[in-house]
Symmetry: C2
Amino acid sequence: MADSQNNWPTGMKRTKQRESVLFILEEAEKPLSALDICSKMDKSGDTAWLSTVYRILELFIKKGIVLKTNLMNSDMSVFELNRFKHKHYAVCMNCNKILTLENCPMERFIPKLEDEDFHVMGHNLEIFGFCKDCKAH
Amino acid sequence: MADSQNNWPTGMKRTKQRESVLFILEEAEKPLSALDICSKMDKSGDTAWLSTVYRILELFIKKGIVLKTNLMNSDMSVFELNRFKHKHYAVCMNCNKILTLENCPMERFIPKLEDEDFHVMGHNLEIFGFCKDCKAH
DNA sequence: GGGTTAAATGCGAATAAGATGCATTTACAA
DNA sequence: TTGTAAATGCATCTTATTCGCATTTAACCC
């Protein structure tokens, strides 16, 4: 099961379900919803209850292994492996395709705030528009 | 009732509830949730059902009068008057205070995407961190 | 390897934001 | 003033996510 086979993060029990979630996230190129993950598990034979998947994801987030995002004000969160590199997405307003943004405008940006003592920890950014397939209606 | 008294957007019936929602949004300095708006209406005597508030907000959004945002991956949307100027926020990770960001890094930014035909329509950005009151725990 | 136990999962039920359906009410045009 | 399409009150539904508890399981000890 890829990398996770030999490399298990410390401080958590190694269960079939956790291995399966981690494997799916390792293979995924784009963020997945909890339901996506659950379906993929079903297909591969490692079935797990949706609530279990949420609990596993919650744990992975706490451990810093996984990142949670909400794209386009959607009410469904998506999850991806924390690959420890800065990342943003562009989302197609028509087909919801997710594209990786390869640069970041925040690199050399100094935020101007009313509260000049605000201690910036990070930022969320997403671009929206129409992908090449949806541009021509 | 401030500006909205004499200046009613065209193409929609002028009802007590709609006037009240618009008034509240005009007075508000920061985005409000549907529930916030509903509570403020209760206090002022113009009670309305929460589902009505949602319907009014939906209409205002469609008319371009109101903007909807989700801050910090929260499952609750917030709404503000569309003042037709570009706007982003900084949110305190501790007290959830919302601060207005007065500049925008996207002004002179050219996004790099795998799909070089992506037609950018806009972007969402938020900064998170700790405000001056929460910085010193 | 077998037993012990704290932690994880299965499963159902609870939450909470938001949407929907329908009967009643209301704004507004004729 | 009256007719009517549209808006609201109200209840109920939906959907993502969380919680509670009984059962199962990983991992440590012998």
